[in-house]
Symmetry: C5
Subunit: 350 residues, 5 copies
C-alpha cells in the first residue's frame, strides 16, 4: 500500500488529522458499499440506471467501496492531440487509453465518441464506458470557449456506454444554453438506462479579481454543484477548491456571511466539504479532477487531492494527464496510489 | 388556534372588519370544499387533472377547505444554496425540505427536479409534488434575468409530480418567449394529467418610477394574472400588491380610469381583490407568496398576508423562506399559523 | 325589426341606394343559404371542415342565411382586462362572455384559450367556439407589436373549438414569420376538421403619410386579404376601409392605375367591394370588425358598418367592444340590430 | 398553325437558320415523346414521380411531344392582386385561372395554395396542378426580397397537386437558407410522388454593373441551373438570357475563358444552349419564362422566346402575364401560338 | 506498370528511400487486405456498415489491397460548372462522370445528389456511390465560405449510396455548426448502414502568416483529423501537408514542442505520417486529395502525392480535376498511374 502520510510530508498532520466543525460529517450522506441502494435507490432513477451505477461502483480496484477512480481522456479534443499525446504517442491509439484504465484498476474510462466507438465491441463489456458528449476544441481561431455536442445520447448507448458525461461552463454567457442541452441529454441518458456525470466547471474571465482567479473557489464551485445536482447529474466532477470568497470578491450574485464566518473554515478540506454539502449533503457523489501533469510532483499532488476529497466526504478522483502523459507502467502506479487513499481505512472522513 | 386579531395588533380592525364595495364578493367565485368540481369541472381539464387537483386540495391541514398552503423551495437556484440554506444547512438535504412540508401540514411541496427526483420513490405518494420547471440562476455574470427550463414536463411526470410550476417574467423582453414555452409546457402537463401553477411575476427595471417599484402594483399584477389564466394556469402565484397605479405611473399600456376611481379602493384587500377579479372572477385560484424572511416579524407578516389573501377571495399562501430559514419546529409553527387563518371561520370574505 | 333607413339618417340614401359599377355584383360569388356547399364544396376542405363551417353558418339568429354575426372578446389580452372590462366587470367572468354570444343570437363566440377552456364542457356543444390562437399583449414595456401563440391548434380542438382564429400584422417586419406560423396553424386546423378565420390586419407606422393612416385603405387591406385567402383562410376578418390610395400615398409595392380610376369609386361600398374582390371574388367570406365603443353612437355605427359590408358583398360582422362594454341587455340589442341588417331583404347587394 | 417565320420578321433567318457550333446538339439529351422513360427512367425518381411527370408531359396540346406549355399565376402574391388582375379582373376568381390553362391547351397550371385549394375537387383531375410553395410578397414595407413558405408539401399533395414549384433567389444573402428549404421540400415532394419545378432566379443588386443587369446573363443563369439540378429539380424554370459575361463583369466566382471564347457564341440560341448544357446536357428539362405583358408585341415576343428555347434544346415555355392580362380568348390564342412553335417540325434543334 | 522511380526523377531517392524515425511504422495500424475486419471490426459500426466498407475496399483495380482510389466530382458546385467542365464539356453529362470512375478502375465515385440521383438505377449497383452531402457554392455575392446541406442522408440512401461524404471547414467561425451537422449526419448514415468520409479541411484567412498559408501544415491538419475521427468518420480526406509549424506560426491553440523537435522531421512523409498518427495511429484510413490540374505535370504530381501518402501509412488518393479536366482516355491513364503506386510492392511503408 502507498504510504500516504510519508508522501504528504509536512502537510500530513494538517490534512490527515483535521476535523471539520462547520458542517460536521454526521450531517452528510457518506460513500459506502451500499451507495447505489442507499443514495440512488429512493430516487427517480430506473432499475437500469441503478444497474449501470452498480457496474461503475462495482468495477476495478475500488470495487464495492463506494468510491470511484475514473480515467478521463478528452484532452486531445479540449487541447490538442499534440499537446496531450506527444509525451507518450502510444495514446494516439485508442486501444491504449482503454488498456490503461483496465490495467490501472479504474472503475471506468471516460473519453470521446471516436475512441469508445472504435473499440466498442472489444472493450465495452470489459470496463464501463463513460461517453463524453460535448467538447470545446481549440482549433477554431480566434479561440472561443463553448461546449459543442459531438454526438448523441443514443449514439453513446449504441456503442455500449454505461454512462454519459458532459460539460457546462457555469458563469459564462453560454452556460444557459449548455444547461438546457445537458439537462435534455441527461434526461435522455436516464431514459436509456445510463448514469450521468457532469463536468461542472466555472468559466468567466471576470471571475479573476486582482490577479486571483476565483473559478476554483469553494463558494462558486459549490453553487455550480448545486445547479448540477438540480439537473439530475448522478456524479459531479469538480475542480478541488483552493480558496473561498468568490462571491464577495467578484461582488455579484447572492451568498451568506455565514459561509465565510463559521460554516466553512479556511482549510482545503472545509472548502471541499462545501462542495459536498452543495451536492445535496453528499447524496450525489463528488469527484475531483486531477489537473495537469507537472512531472515529478504528480504522485504527491494526486494523493493529496485524493486525501482532501475523501476526508471532505467526496467519492473519488478522475485523473487523466498525470496518468497518461508518462509510460504506461508509471501511469498504472499513479492510478493505484490514488486508489490506495480510498482503500486505506486510516484515511477517515474529517 | 392562532389568535389572529392579537397578532395583527393595531391593524386588526382595518383588515378583519373591512368590506369591499368596488367589486363586491357576490360577483366572485369563491374557494370552498367543492372547488374542484364547481370551478374546474366545467373546463377542458381531464378527469386525471381533476384527480390531481383534488390530491392537492385534499391534503394536509387545509384538506377539503378549498384553500391551500404550499411550501416552495427553489431559492437555492434562484438566489444560491448559500444564501438560502446557510441559516439552516439541514435543508441542503432534499429530504428535509419534503419533511418540513409534511410536518408543516402543507397541501404540497413545490421544488426543483433535483430535490424531487432524488426523493421520488420515497415521498411522491406521501405528499403532492409540484415540479418547478424553470428557474433564473444567479451564477452567470453579469447577472441576467431570464427563466431557463431545467427539465421537461415528461421528466416531472416520471418523478411522480401531481402538478408543475413555471415562472413568467411579464413586462420583460423575454416574457413572450417565456409565455410560449410555459403555455406549451402547461398544455403538455394537462395532457399528462398534472395541474399547472404559474409563478406570475412582473420584472422590468423601468417599472420603478421616482423610487417607487410598481412590479407589485394591483393593476400590473392583475393584468399579469389575466394573461396567466389565459394560458390555462390552474393556480396563479402572485406577489400581494402594496399599491395601485402602475399603468399610469409608468405611462404605458391601456387601462381604465374606473380602476383608480371606484372599482379598486386604496386598501390592501381591494388591491388583492383586483388580482382575484383578473383570475376570471376567482374561478382560477389566487395564491400569494410570502416573501423574504426578516426574522422576528415573520409570523405577523405571514398571518397578515394570509388574512388579506383570504378576505380578498384568494385561495391560499405559498411561503418558503419564512419557513425554512429557521429551525424546523419553528417553521412548522409558522406554516400552521398561516393555515389557521384559512381554518378560522371568523376570517370572512370582505 | 330595426328601422335601418331611419338609423342611417342623412346617409340612408347614399348607402342604401348606391349601385357599384367598377366591379359589378354579377361578377361576385355572393353569400347565401347554400354557401357551404357552393363556395367551399369544390375546395380541398374536408367533410369535417364543411361540417364545422355549417355549424357556424347554421347557428343563431342568422342561421342559414349565409351571413354570420360573431362575438369576439380578446381585448383583455390585446389591450388589458382593465381597459376592456371596467365598463362592465361582469365580463371578467368567462361564462358571461359566452352567455352574451348565445343570448345575442350570434353564430359563434371568438375568444381566448383561457375563456373557452374554462367553460369548455358546459358550452362547446351549445355555440360554436372560435379559439383565437395568437395575441399581442400590452404588458411588455416598451410596447411592442407582434403576435405570439398562446396555445396550440390541438389544444383548441381538445377544448371543443369549431374553428380557429389568428392574426397577421401585414406590412410589418414580423409579418413573414407570422404568415408562416399562421399558415402552418391553419393547415393543422384543417387536418383536425376546424375552419379558419384570419384577423387580417395591416400594421406599419410608415403607412401613415401626412397625418393620414392608410392601414385601413381599400387597396392595402385588399392586398392583405389576397394574401390571407392564399394561405387558406376560410373567412377573412378585415377592418372596413375608410379610404383608398394606400399604395400611391406610401409609394411602394405594385398596384394598377385602374384601381383608382375606374374599378373602385370613391364610396365606402366600393372600397369594401374591393376587399370582397380580393377574397377570390367573394368565394371566401369577408367579415368586417366593429371597432371601439364610443357610447351613444355605437348602434348607428354598427348598423352602418353592416349595411356597407352586406351591400359590398361581405358576409357579416364581428363586433365586440360595442357589445360587451355596456349592460348585457343593451349588448344583446346591439347584436340583434346588426343581425337585422342581414335579415332585412330590402338591404340588397349594391 | 401559326406562321412563325412571318411573325419573327427580320429576325426569322437569324433565329430559324442558326446552327450552334460551341456545344453542338449531338452532345445533348433532347426532348422527345419518350422523355419520361429516357431521361428520368434511370434516376432515383419513383414510379409515382414518373407517373406524375407523364401526366404533365401527356396533357394538353403538346401532349406526348416532350415539350410543355405551363400557365403560371402567382403574380397576385409576388406583385399584387391589383397590379396583376386589374387589366382583367375576372382572374381574381380562381376558377378562371384554371379555365384559361385548360382552354389554352396547357400541360399544367402552376399557381398558389389558395387558388388550387379552392378549386381542388373540381379541377385537380382535369389538369395537372403545380402548387407553388413559396413566394415573395410586396406588402411588407420597406420592400424586402425573400421567399417565404406559404404552405407545406403535404398540403400540396392533399389538394391534388401533380408537382410542386419553388423559387430560389441565387446570388442573394438568403439563397442558402432557401436552398436548404427547397431541397428539403423537393425531397419530400418526391417521396409523395410529385415532380419538382425550380423557379431558378438570380437576384442581387450588385449584379448590375455600369447600367447592365447580369441577372439574366448566360453564365450566371447557367450556374444557377447547375445548382438547381443538383438539388433534384425535375424541371428548371429560368429567364431566357439576353447576354453573356456575368462572372467577368461582376468579377467574382470562378469561370473559364472558354465560355466566352468558343463554347458560347454571342447569339441568343447559344446563350440559351449554355443553360441547357448546365441542365446536365439537357437531361433535366429547361423551360423559359415569358416575362411581363407589353401589349401588342406580346405575341411576337412569346413566339420568339419559344423559338430560341426550342432551338437551344429547351423543353417549353411558362408564360403568365402575357396570357392573363387580356381577354380570355386572346390569352388562349397566345398560348396556342407558343405551343405551335413546339408542334412545328420545321423549327429544329440548332 | 508505371515506372514510379523514373517519374519522380531527382526526388526518387528522397521519397522512395526515406525512413521515418519520429513515429516509426511499427506503431501504426497499416492498410491491408483485411482492413475492414481488423480495423473496423472491433468498432461500433454495424454489419451493414462493414458490408459497405467492404464494397468500397473490394472494388476496382485496388480491390482487396486495403487501398482506395476515389474519383471526386463536386467542383461544379464548389467552383462552377464552367470552371470545372469547360476543358471537357462531356462531364456536364453526369453519366460520363460515373463512366470515368468505372473505366478508370476507381473504388468509388464521390459526387453530388444531382449526378448520382439521375444515374441511380443504372449505376448504383455497378460502382459504390459516395454522396457528398454539403457544399460551398460560389454564386452568392459577396463570396462566402460555408458548407450548406444540399440533401439528406436518407436521400443518399434512397439513391443507392454506399457511403456519404461531408466537408467541415475547421478553424472557421462556422466550423462548430458544421461539426454538429456533420456528426449528426454521420450518425444517421451509420444507422442506415453507410460509411462516412470526412472532407477534413482547414479554412481561416488568419492561418496565413507573413505570406505563408498554414492551412496545409502538418500540425493543423493533424489536429483537424483528430477532430474528424472523433465524430466517427470512417475515412478522412485531407490535403497533403507541405510544411509543419502552423500552431506556433499563428500562435494559438495548444501543441507540444516535441512535434517540432523529434516526433515529426522536416520531410513530406513525416508531415503526412503525423496526419496518419492523428487518425488513431492509422486505424482510420487517410486519403489525400490530388489538388488542381496544372496540365503536363499532373501525372508526376499525382504519383508523387500517392507515394508520400502510401509511404506515410495512408490508404489512398482522391483525385478529381487532374482526371476529368482532359480527354477521358488520359484521365483513365492518370487514375491508373495513381493506382499503380499502391499496387507496386516496392513502394513500402517508410
Amino acid at each position: 500500500m502507498t504510504d500516504i502520510a510519508k508522501l504528504l510530508g509536512d502537510e500530513a498532520d494538517a490534512l490527515l488529522g483535521y476535523e471539520v466543525t462547520g458542517i460536521p460529517k454526521d450531517r452528510l450522506h457518506l460513500p459506502g458499499p451500499d451507495a447505489v441502494e442507499r443514495l440512488y435507490g429512493p430516487s427517480d432513477r430506473s432499475p437500469q440506471v441503478l444497474r449501470n451505477l452498480q457496474s461503475l461502483f462495482g468495477h476495478g480496484r475500488l470495487a464495492d467501496t463506494g468510491y470511484v477512480s475514473i480515467l478521463p481522456v478528452d484532452q486531445g479534443i479540449e487541447h490538442s492531440g499534440a499537446a496531450s499525446f506527444a509525451p507518450n504517442p502510444d495514446y494516439f491509439d485508442p486501444e491504449n487509453i482503454i488498456r490503461l484504465a483496465i490495467e490501472g484498476g479504474c472503475n471506468a474510462v471516460a473519453t470521446t465518441f471516436g475512441v469508445l466507438g472504435l473499440m466498442s465491441r472489444r472493450y465495452a463489456h470489459r470496463i464501463p464506458f463513460i461517453a463524453k458528449l460535448n467538447h470545446n476544441e481549440l482549433l477554431t481561431y480566434p479561440t472561443t470557449y463553448d461546449q459543442v455536442m459531438f454526438g448523441s445520447v443514443e449514439e453513446a448507448w449504441n456503442l455500449g456506454a454505461a454512462g454519459v458525461g458532459a460539460t457546462i461552463y457555469f458563469g459564462s454567457d453560454e452556460s444557459r444554453r449548455q444547461l438546457i442541452e445537458v439537462s435534455e441529454a441527461f434526461e435522455e441518458a436516464h431514459e436509456l438506462g445510463m448514469f450521468t456525470v457532469l463536468w461542472c466547471y466555472l468559466r468567466n474571465g471576470d471571475f479573476a479579481v486582482d490577479g486571483t482567479n476565483y473559478e476554483d473557489s469553494a463558494d462558486l464551485t459549490g453553487q455550480a454543484n448545486h445547479l448540477g445536482v438540480t439537473i439530475e447529474a448522478d456524479i459531479i466532477k469538480q475542480k478541488q477548491p483552493t480558496k473561498n470568497g468568490g462571491f464577495p470578491a467578484v461582488n455579484f450574485g447572492k451568498t451568506s456571511k455565514l459561509v465565510y464566518d463559521g460554516l466553512v473554515a479556511e482549510h482545503p478540506i472545509d472548502w471541499c466539504r462545501w462542495q459536498v454539502v452543495n451536492n445535496y449533503m453528499g447524496r450525489i457523489g463528488l469527484i475531483n479532477s486531477g489537473g495537469e501533469s507537472k512531472g515529478e510532483s504528480d504522485l504527491v499532488d494526486a494523493v493529496r487531492t485524493a486525501v482532501i476529497n475523501k476526508r471532505a466526504g467526496g467519492c473519488g478522483l478522475i485523473s487523466g494527464r498525470k496518468a497518461f502523459q508518462r509510460p504506461m507502467a508509471e501511469g498504472v502506479e499513479l492510478l493505484n496510489a490514488i486508489q490506495d487513499v480510498y482503500r486505506d481505512g486510516s484515511v477517515t472522513i474529517a
